[in-house]
Each structure stands twice: as structure tokens, then as C-alpha cells.
């Protein structure tokens, strides 16, 4: 997009947010990398012969002055090449792995960068016409989910989810071939949260990085590796970042979950429990580390009572002052004008997550549907937009299997009353938004509890904080009925839906630790910590290998309505939790090990506790 800026294109920003799919998904197609050429080759005339496969498009990049659009497909490890004049796929090229993002390198139509979050790499792609080859690759911090370029085009910044790091990569040309970028890792920057979206602020020469789960927003100077500020917006699930056309506001799409609201029909219905919003933050406030982030901000509520806009995703601001936001959960995009009432809503497939405006025809907006394996083209020239100009199929898809259907339901806000929320709205990408929610999990209101991660959920029976539910199916059924208050009409999941959701949840593996113990010193500390864990009896309740057990026990905490017994949450991936315990009372593992069951830890030497924490971090 810096290229767009430099050339004075009208498009000021594009989406940075990709849908993420749970790690550990079984059916990941791994294709061999080939320097020699693509494993498949299609001429425009052969487009109809595209393979039948699950694709899941996650990123869009325009090349050749907007005449071609490249689509990165996560599940198939391919790049679809779309002719934007014919609005048709002209080729599909395998690059292998699981692409999580794709950008074109500025001022250089030949090269693109893609992240691969399963093999933890940044890949340099070289394109000649409709041929795409892997030119180079470099290991980056584990689980890279997005890549952006700095304004001068000389650096790429990769955000890595579970390892909570940014990797800054130099792109200067090789000595013998200046046009060929050489990927050179310059630095890594550790973040205090798991990042996802990124946006380069061209004038300020700063990068905005946002939280994948909670509401953290960091302003980073990649040139020096300085994190200038980390502040939170009141919300979670930030899935869209863009600058408005005037360049003075940062548009952030996200959700909010009220700690004070209850999961009653009324609170959901009136938008009290969960809201889908776009915050228009003042850019000067964003850049001033001391400022209250919300000062001068405007809140645009997406959707309305009766017709909600679950799971807002990517945002794009087009040259004619239109803003396009994807409503991923309800399969729509909204088009509205800055400062004007009204939101025009257009159907855009099953789960539209990525939006990009064509730099040469900024009123042409492309929307990728990650579950429909298609790209919709929407013309926003006129105020009245009724339907997409074209829907480009990326190729034939097989009938989805049970777990895939479950995945589609997991991200489907139409399972909830009026489309306010999907499972993903709180269990963000199967993990957790980390917030407190007052639901009927414990059978009554007034004692809000932290949303539990579903990563590794299959192994953590019984479910709910009080361990009151013995089957995963019953928990899913209850959550959809008493939290999401849906589905509208029947109020009950069908048996097939229930089976599909259960099958999907069972594919979710526990989150990896933020920093696996790598050095000898850390390994030794973790090993000593494991002994402390065993010695002081942590394993009685948090029994390996799942680090949980079926019992409920009183650990000295009383919730607001007098409950004292809780089922021990699994400690796998515990380092990924922003706050701990049922009410987020502890902000760190150090605090947690000393504040709960103090009778266990009061006589343990400080050094042993430090080792214990190191051990927990390694889980």
C-alpha cells in the first residue's frame, strides 16, 4: 500500500486482517515447493479445469496496475490469479504450506511476500505474468499471521501470533541483482500481546499493531524497534484497520463484550451484551503515547437492533469517501459514507473477511469469502449498491466434511439471535478474548467469568467453570441456546450442526507456549520447575498430560454469588492467557502461583517459584 501512496493512488489503505484458522487442523494440504515452476499451470482458457479443493482465501494483492489480483489460499497453499477486467480466475499456482498473508512489494511488480504460519516462514514470491515461484524464504518468529511493508518499501514487518513478536526484515536488493530482494532479518520486537493486524502510517512512519484476541493497540517504530505505546481500546476481536481518506482517523473494526451485561435475550437483543463497532480514532491521539486513545474518537455502531452485524472484519476506505466493512459473521459487507447516517448492506458470501480496493479503480472493491472460496466485486461508485457486480469463483470445492462444516458454523453469527455474535466472537479463533462474561455457565447471573479457551477443549472434561457439564455436545448446545440465544426460529441446533461443531472443536489443539524454553538455562529452570510442580502437589488437580482433572475444588476463591468450587482449567498454553482465574484476578503467572492456594506455596523458596513459573511458561 505504500506503493499506492507513493503513486498517489486514491486507495489509502487496505485490509490487513486475515481470518485465522485454528492451528492443528488436520487436513492441511502440504504441497512441495518447487523452484522449477508451479505444479499446475493454467492458461486463461483452462481456468475451467481448476482442481476441486478447499481453498480458504485469506489475502488479496493487486499487481500490474490493478489489472490482476492475487489471492492467497490458506488451505490449498495456492495463489489464484484473477484477471480484474474479465473478473475471472486465469490461473492457480501452488506455493505450498499454509499462506496466512500476502503483499506485493512496492514499486516492484515482480515480487510478493507471503507468510506461512505452519512452517513459520516469510516467503518471497517471484511472479512472471501468471507464473508464481518461490524465490526465497526465511524463518521468522513462529506463527506469522500478517506481513506489511514500511513506507519506503525497504522493510517488511511480520507479526507472529503465538510467539508475540514482530520480525523486521530488510528487502534490499542483492549485489549482483539489485532488483531481487534479499530477505535479511534485522530485528525482532517482543510484544506484550498476541498480534494480528498491522497498518503502516505513511506520514508518521509508524506501524500500528493490534491484538488478535483482546483490545491492545501498539504503535511501533520498526526502524528502531521501539514500542512507543501500548494502549487498549474497549473491545476485542480487532479484525480491521484502515486510514480514512482524509488520513486523520484510524478506523478500527472490533467487538465489545460488556462485563456488566447478562446473556439474557433482552441484553443480546438490544445490543447491551455484545456490540459490533468501528471506532474512528483520531490519528494524532494514536500517535501521542500519553493521550487517552478514545479522546476525539467516534464510534460507528455496525448493524442495528433486529439486524446485527456479527464479527466485523476488514475495512477499506475508498477515494469517494466510502467505507466498506466486511461483516464476516453474517456474510455481508456494509458500505457507508463518512459522517453520514445509514449503512448499505450487501450479501457477500459465507464469510467475507478480506476487503481490498483496486488501486486503479478505487470504486471497485474486492471481497474474499473464506468459506465460499470466491471473491465478490462490489462497485461503490453510487450511493445505492444493491448486489455485487460479479462473484468470482476461485474454483470447484469438494463437499465439506463434518469438521469443516463445524468450522463454518463456529464462525457463523447467524447461529445467534439477530446475528449479533458467533462462537468466534468470544472464543476468538477457538481461543478466548480473555474477557469476563456474565452467562449461565454456573447456572445464575451476577458472577461474570473469564471466557475459556477452546484450544485443546476435547481433553478438558468436564466443562464450564464449575465443571457442571459432562459432554462437549451439551456444552455447545447450552452455549448456543443460553448465550447466543439462537438459532432464531428453532432455538435449537440440529443434530447435524451439533455433531459438526463438536467435530470441529475436537480438531483444536492447545495453544503453544509464548516462548518455548530454548536456552540451556531456561530448559534447566523449566526442568527444576517441573520438580517443584510435582513436589508441592500442583499435579493433584492439574494432572499431566492435560494439566487438568475432572474434580472441582475449593481453592479459596469465592465468586460474587458464593460459588467456591471450580474445575481446574488446563494449564496447557497457560502463558497465552492475558489474565488468570475465573474473574481475571491475577495479571501474571508470578502473581497467580502465589495468590492461589497460598498454603501450597508459602514455604516454597522464591527461586523455586521462579522455576515453577518458568515450567508453566513452557507448557
Amino acid at each position: 500500500m505504500n506503493r499506492n501512496d507513493r503513486r498517489g493512488f486514491l486507495m489509502r489503505s487496505t485490509t490487513v486482517c486475515k481470518s485465522v484458522f485454528a492451528l492443528g487442523l488436520g487436513a492441511v494440504m502440504v504441497l512441495g515447493l518447487s523452484r522449477q515452476g508451479a505444479t499446475e499451470s493454467k492458461t486463461p482458457g483452462e481456468a475451467s479445469a481448476l482442481a476441486t479443493r478447499v481453498r480458504q482465501p485469506v489475502a488479496l494483492a493487486f499487481v500490474d496496475d490493478g489489472k490482476r489480483l492475487l489471492v492467497a489460499n490458506r488451505r490449498s497453499g495456492t495463489i489464484s490469479i484473477v484477471d480484474t477486467q474479465a473478473n475471472a480466475v486465469v490461473a492457480e499456482r501452488a506455493i505450498g504450506g499454509t499462506p496466512s498473508d500476502l503483499v506485493a512489494i512496492s514499486g516492484n511488480d515482480r515480487f510478493l511476500l507471503a507468510t506461512d504460519d505452519e512452517r513459520h516462514r516469510l516467503i518471497l514470491l517471484e511472479r512472471k505474468g501468471i507464473e508464481v515461484d518461490v524465490a526465497a524464504q526465511v524463518d521468522v518468529a513462529p506463527y506469522p499471521v500478517s506481513v506489511r511493508l514500511t513506507g519506503d518499501g525497504r522493510h517488511a514487518v511480520v507479526a507472529s501470533l503465538w510467539s508475540r513478536q514482530l520480525t523486521v526484515i530488510g528487502l534490499d536488493g542483492a549485489a549482483d541483482r539489485p532488483s531481487l530482494p534479499v530477505l535479511k532479518i534485522e530485528r525482532t520486537i517482543a510484544l506484550p500481546f498476541a498480534p494480528r493486524c498491522q497498518l503502516w502510517l505513511p506520514e508518521a512512519r509508524r506501524l500500528v499493531v493490534t491484538d488478535s484476541f483482546g483490545g491492545n493497540l501498539a504503535v511501533v517504530d520498526p526502524a528502531t524497534g521501539t514500542i512507543e505505546s501500548v494502549r487498549t481500546i474497549p473491545g476485542h476481536n480487532i479484525r480491521g484497520l484502515a486510514l480514512n481518506v482524509a488520513g486523520d482517523r484510524l478506523l478500527v473494526s472490533h467487538q465489545t463484550l460488556s462485563r456488566l451485561a447478562r446473556t439474557t435475550f433482552e441484553d443480546l437483543h438490544w445490543g447491551t451484551l455484545l456490540t459490533n463497532v468501528m471506532h474512528a480514532l483520531s490519528l494524532s491521539t494514536v500517535l501521542d503515547p500519553a493521550a487517552d486513545l478514545l479522546k476525539e474518537s467516534r464510534t460507528v455502531r455496525l448493524g442495528d437492533v433486529g439486524r446485527a452485524a456479527g464479527d466485523p472484519a476488514a475495512i477499506v476506505a475508498t477515494g469517494n469517501h466510502r467505507i466498506v466493512v466486511a461483516f464476516a459473521g453474517v456474510g455481508e459487507v456494509a458500505v457507508f459514507q463518512e459522517g453520514h447516517p445509514g449503512q448499505q448492506r450487501i450479501s457477500a458470501g459465507k464469510r467475507p473477511t478480506v476487503v481490498a480496493a483496486n488501486p486503479h479503480r478505487p470504486a471497485s472493491v474486492y471481497v474474499a469469502d473464506s468459506f465460499g472460496d470466491s471473491v465478490s466485486v462490489i462497485d461503490v461508485t453510487d450511493a445505492e449498491v444493491r448486489e455485487p457486480l460479479a462473484v468470482i469463483s476461485l474454483g470447484p470445492s469438494p463437499a465439506p466434511n463434518l469438521a469443516d462444516r463445524g468450522e463454518q458454523l463456529f464462525y457463523d453469527a447467524r447461529l445467534s439471535h439477530d446475528g449479533w455474535m458467533s462462537c468466534h466472537s468470544c472464543h476468538t479463533d477457538g481461543h478466548s478474548n480473555g474477557l469476563l462474561n456474565d452467562n449461565l455457565g454456573d447456572g445464575s447471573f451476577d458472577a461474570p467469568k473469564r471466557v475459556l479457551s477452546l484450544l485443546g477443549v476435547a481433553d478438558t472434561a468436564p466443562w464450564a467453570w464449575n465443571g457442571g457439564i459432562d459432554s462437549l455436545e451439551a456444552q455447545i448446545r447450552k452455549s448456543v441456546a443460553t448465550t447466543m440465544r439462537g438459532p432464531d426460529g428453532t432455538g435449537e441446533l440440529t443434530e447435524d450442526q451439533l455433531a459438526a461443531l463438536t467435530a470441529y472443536l475436537k480438531t483444536l489443539a492447545p495453544a503453544p507456549p509464548v516462548r518455548p524454553a530454548a536456552s540451556d538455562v531456561a530448559l534447566a529452570a523449566a526442568k527444576r520447575g517441573a520438580e517443584v510442580f510435582e513436589r508441592i502437589g500442583c499435579g493433584n488437580c492439574h494432572a499431566p498430560p492435560t494439566y487438568t482433572s475432572a474434580d472441582i475444588s475449593d481453592i479459596g476463591f469465592v465468586d460474587e454469588v458464593g460459588n467456591t468450587k471450580f474445575n481446574p482449567p488446563s494449564l496447557r498454553g497457560v502463558s497465552q492467557r492475558a489474565a488468570l482465574f475465573h474473574n481475571n484476578r491475577s495479571q501474571s503467572l508470578e502473581e497467580a502461583v502465589t495468590s492461589h492456594r497460598p498454603q501450597f506455596t508459602k514455604d516454597v523458596p522464591a527461586a523455586d517459584l521462579a522455576d515453577l513459573v518458568e515450567f508453566l511458561r513452557s507448557l
Binding site: P234, T256, L260, A261, E266, G271, T272, E296, D446
Partner: protein, 562 residues
């Protein structure tokens, strides 16, 4: 003993004692008291009628008035009721049968108060007052040493004996008398702090729907056309009837093929009720025309506007006149949709040229749930303490989450003597957090939260204070007399002392006009009037504008100096 018609509507007293009300009646917790009031004045009967409510709060005018006339004096005056002792040989068995049923009911009510009231009186207090009610009804003095006997009474059985004894003094004929049951229950509830009322459970469900703004119905109010005698329609804006093409003042000829001629209003209401999604066909005609037309209405949620603009009911003009840069929103009830409505108002104001400040008028807010009020305060505060909700077993301290409506703009909250319950708590929270300037006259000082509890084995519920709302500063909002347990059902209080309620930052003097007959309560001590009308000496709206303009000017000054 079966619930008779109107039993559910019997109101033994205004549960907001001390309310200096200028209305004839403010039955609580009727969320539609305005409509009820209109009913009494004989003009419009609102048909907020739905399926769960077969015993609607819309009753015949006569029944209603009788109850109302009755209740106000019950608590303090012995009514001269001639004892119906025509047949002294009436069977004692019959007396006991009717009496025992009534007394079991009274004891059930006492148990519910003990279990659910935030600060219940003792069982003995309620029994003593219940017995008093019966002796008063029989125009007999309280027996010697009754207080001593009641004080020594333990458990239900002994209390039952005491009450039965009193019952026999009156009900010698063995006839079931609803009046007497009323007097017994009224007596029992008299020492309950904050008051308590019986309400038909079905009516309670309707009120819950109304509170949540999820009321299911056809969306019309009913009146009677004097000329034709037919039922006349008053539309609720954007309701199902309005959307189906029904016009204001249309007359209903028939409902689902059945003529309305000769039907009582209540019977018309019953026929209009039904479940969500089920249709009803009306044959309508204009008052001046002869031709009829058929309109089919599907019953659905009737959205009600609960936040009004400057022009009164259903007004959507949210700007002051002539100060159009000052926004105005009058919350008439804090229900499930209040925050949603305020969000829309903010958006509308921003999209139509912006605004500089807001007046939030809470003068009409005198009930609601703690939850809805909490959500409202959270929406108005960027951070800070909302206050606390005290129930019988715990205190729940509440804090606001980040982000708020009307950010960065001065807010003035207008309060008055009718601002009570959740309304005064909201005002107090905004005051303690310095989020708003409070303008007007002192509030009611009755920050209770009322909930309905079903009386086991009956079709009725008890509405009683289950929580006390506490302001962030920790000071009590409750007028001392509500704390102590003596309530003065249905009576207004002249004069007041001590710090309670919300004291406005910009108080407006009032000229009090006393109305209604005088009555001494407690006997020989204070002279009270049953209704007191107070009139502010200046318009609180003008004062609020003045306050806000000063604040806007102050906030703009530093910028000018730059």
C-alpha cells in the same frame, strides 16, 4: 379461595410512600402508570395487552376506582364497616375454613417478605399489623396485651392462631370477603420498608416484557367512541397495527369475525391478545364513514419509545428550543432499550450537525431494575464507581467499563420529586463521578429495587423491595423513614429532614401547593396531606441550559487563549 376478578389489581397502597404525587394514583410497579392514569381520567385505555396477561392491568374503571379510593386510607383509618352479623349461628367451621385460607395466604406473604426483602421487618411486626387490620375492620379495639402475645409468638402456627382469632371477630357470618382479605394483607404489609404490593403473576410477566421493551401485542390503545359506542383505536407508533395500515381513530367493528357490539372493553382487549406471530383480522371503519375494511395484524413485539425529545410523548426532536446546539433526552423509564435509544440519539445528533451539550431529563424515572440502571450508568460513565446494589445477602459493588456515550460533552441531569428508585441512583452516580450537573428539586429518596416473587400455590405475586441502591459516595439515598420500617402507604409527606435522595447541584426553589384532605399520621403528631403538588419557581430546562452554556463557555476559553 380463588382469586377473584381484580384481586391481582388490588393495591394496598402506593408502594412509594411519601411520594408527593400530583397524580391520583401511581400504582407500582406498573410500568405503564401513565396509561393507567389516563384510564382513570376516562380518556384512553391503552391496549398493551398480551397473551400472558389474561388478567390485564386494564380493569373496568369502576373496580379500579373502588380499589383506589379504598387503599389510601386503609393504613391509618379504621373504616366503619358494619359487621354482617345477621346470622350469629353461622357455622364456626365455615368461618375457620375461609379464615384459614386467608390467613395461610397472609402467612405465605410474610414468609416471602422474610425471605426476599432486602431488610425485612420481623414476622411478629407483620402479624401484629395484620391483626390490627382485622380488628380495625371490625371496628374493634386491639385486644389487651396483643403486642406481648405476638412478641412471644414463635413460628407459623402461633401466628396463625393469633390471626384466626382476629378473623373470627369480623367474619362471623362465614362469608368469604375479599375486602377482609385485603385488610389483612394490607395490615401485614404495612410495616414492610418501602412497601409491598400484590400483583397478578400474569400482570407481572407483562410488566417484565414491558421493562425489557419486548412487549408482544398488536400495538393499539383502545378508547370508546361516544357516538357509536364502538371501540376506537389509538395507535402506538411503529407498532404492528400502525405497520399493517390501521389508522388513528379507526373504529373496530369486529375481531376475527366476531362483532364487538355489546362487548366490554376488557373483552375486546382479551380478543386482541395472542401469541407472537399469530394474526388477528379486524374489520374497521372510519368514524365518519360507513364503509368498512379488513386489516390483518400479526402480533409481534411492540417497540416502545422510552426516551423522548423536547415535544413530549414520542417526540423525536432531541434539540432544545431555541438552543439547538443543546441536546435534550427525556428518559421516561429505564428499561432494556434505554441505552440503545440513547446511542441512536447520539448518532442522529452527530449526523445532523453535532451538538455541544446534553440535558438528560430523569424527572419521570421512578422504577426499573437495578440491572438496566447499571447498564445505563455504565453507558454514561467512562470509568469509575457506579455504586452498589445491596440485597438481603450481599453487596454488589459495580464499576463502569471504559468508553461512554456523549464523550467530552457537558451533561446536565434534571431531577425532581418524582425521580426515585433507579432514577435517583443514576443521577447520584453521575453526580458522584462529576459526569453531570444535577439540576432541579430534591429526589424522592426511595432508592429501592422492587422484584416480583410468585406466591406459592396462587396466581399472584408479591412485589417488594429486594435491593437497595447505594450511591458511589456511600451516603444513603433512602429517606430515613424508609429505612426504619414505618411506611405511610399512599400518603404524601409534608416537610422533610436529613440528607437523603439526590441534592441538586443547581437547586430550584419550589412553591408547594398542598391538595387533598389533611390526615394525622402517626396519630396526633404530623399533619399530612395525601397529595401535594409542588411547582418549581423557574423552569428546570431553562436552568439546565444556563448551566450547560456556562460550562461550554469555560471549556472553550482555554482554546481561545491559545
Amino acid at each position: 379461595m380463588q382469586c377473584s376478578t381484580g384481586w391481582g389489581m388490588v393495591r394496598f397502597g402506593c408502594s412509594q410512600p411519601g411520594r408527593r404525587s400530583n397524580h391520583v394514583v401511581r400504582p407500582w410497579p406498573c410500568v405503564c402508570r401513565r396509561e393507567t392514569f389516563r384510564l382513570l381520567s376516562g380518556t384512553v385505555m391503552l391496549s398493551l395487552v398480551s397473551d400472558p396477561c389474561s388478567c390485564s392491568f386494564i380493569l373496568g374503571e369502576k373496580i379500579m376506582l373502588r380499589r383506589l379510593v379504598g387503599f389510601a386510607w386503609l393504613a391509618v383509618m379504621a373504616l366503619a364497616v358494619s359487621a354482617r352479623a345477621d346470622d350469629p349461628a353461622a357455622s364456626a367451621v365455615m368461618v375457620d375454613a375461609s379464615g384459614q385460607a386467608a390467613i395461610q395466604r397472609a402467612l405465605d406473604v410474610i414468609d416471602l417478605v422474610l425471605e426476599h426483602h432486602v431488610q425485612p421487618p420481623t414476622r411478629q411486626e407483620m402479624v401484629l399489623h395484620g391483626a390490627d387490620g382485622l380488628y380495625n375492620a371490625a371496628n374493634l379495639p386491639r385486644p389487651f396485651r396483643l403486642s406481648v402475645r405476638v412478641s412471644a409468638a414463635n413460628g407459623r402456627a402461633e401466628c396463625e392462631e393469633i390471626l384466626l382469632e382476629a378473623w373470627r371477630k369480623y367474619d362471623v357470618a362465614g362469608t368469604v370477603s375479599n375486602d377482609l382479605i385485603e385488610k389483612l394483607i394490607a395490615g401485614v404489609l404495612r410495616p414492610v420498608p418501602g412497601g409491598a404490593t400484590l400483583i397478578a403473576t400474569k400482570e407481572l410477566r407483562v410488566q417484565e416484557q414491558l421493562q425489557a421493551n419486548r412487549y408482544v401485542g398488536v400495538g393499539i390503545a383502545l378508547g370508546t367512541d361516544k357516538e357509536s359506542g364502538l371501540t376506537q383505536i389509538h395507535l402506538i407508533p411503529e407498532g404492528p397495527a400502525a405497520n399493517a395500515g390501521v389508522d388513528e381513530n379507526d373504529l373496530i367493528e369486529s375481531i376475527d369475525g366476531e362483532s364487538t357490539k355489546g362487548l366490554k372493553l376488557q373483552e375486546v382487549v382479551d380478543r386482541l391478545r395472542g401469541k407472537e406471530g399469530i394474526s388477528v383480522a379486524l374489520v374497521l371503519r372510519k368514524p365518519s364513514a360507513a364503509e368498512t375494511r379488513t386489516v390483518t395484524i400479526t402480533r409481534s413485539v411492540v417497540p416502545r419509545q422510552t426516551v423522548f425529545g423536547v415535544d413530549g410523548r414520542n417526540s423525536r426532536d432531541f434539540r432544545m428550543k431555541p438552543d439547538r446546539r443543546i441536546a435534550y433526552a427525556k428518559i421516561v423509564e429505564i428499561g432494556g432499550s434505554a441505552v440503545h435509544e440513547l446511542r441512536k440519539i447520539e448518532r442522529e445528533l452527530e449526523d445532523s450537525g453535532g451538538f455541544d451539550a446534553l440535558i438528560l431529563d430523569l424527572r419521570s424515572v421512578g422504577h426499573g431494575t437495578a440491572h438496566d440502571a447499571t447498564i445505563l450508568v455504565d453507558a454514561l460513565l467512562d470509568h469509575g464507581s457506579i455504586g452498589a446494589v445491596r440485597t438481603a445477602s450481599r453487596v454488589q459493588a459495580l464499576t463502569a467499563d471504559a468508553d461512554c456515550l456523549f464523550r467530552g460533552r457537558p451533561v446536565a441531569v434534571i431531577v425532581g420529586e418524582h425521580t426515585g428508585n433507579t432514577g435517583e441512583w443514576v443521577a447520584a452516580s453521575l453526580q458522584d463521578n462529576h459526569r453531570a450537573s444535577i439540576v432541579g428539586t430534591p429526589t424522592a429518596g426511595n432508592a429501592f429495587v422492587y422484584s416480583g416473587v410468585v406466591i406459592p400455590g396462587s396466581e399472584d405475586s408479591l412485589s417488594l423491595p429486594t435491593a437497595i441502591l447505594e450511591r458511589p459516595s456511600g451516603e444513603s439515598l433512602l429517606n430515613a423513614m424508609y429505612r426504619g420500617g414505618v411506611t405511610m402507604n399512599g400518603l404524601a409527606i409534608m416537610g422533610k429532614g436529613g440528607a437523603w435522595g439526590v441534592r441538586p447541584d443547581h437547586a430550584i426553589e419550589v412553591a408547594a401547593t398542598a391538595t387533598g384532605p389533611e390526615v394525622q399520621f402517626p396519630l396526633g403528631q404530623t399533619v399530612l396531606r395525601n397529595r401535594v403538588m409542588t411547582v418549581p419557581k423557574i423552569d428546570p430546562l431553562l436552568k439546565a441550559c444556563e448551566v450547560l452554556k456556562a460550562q461550554i463557555a469555560t471549556s472553550q476559553k482555554p482554546d481561545e487563549q491559545k
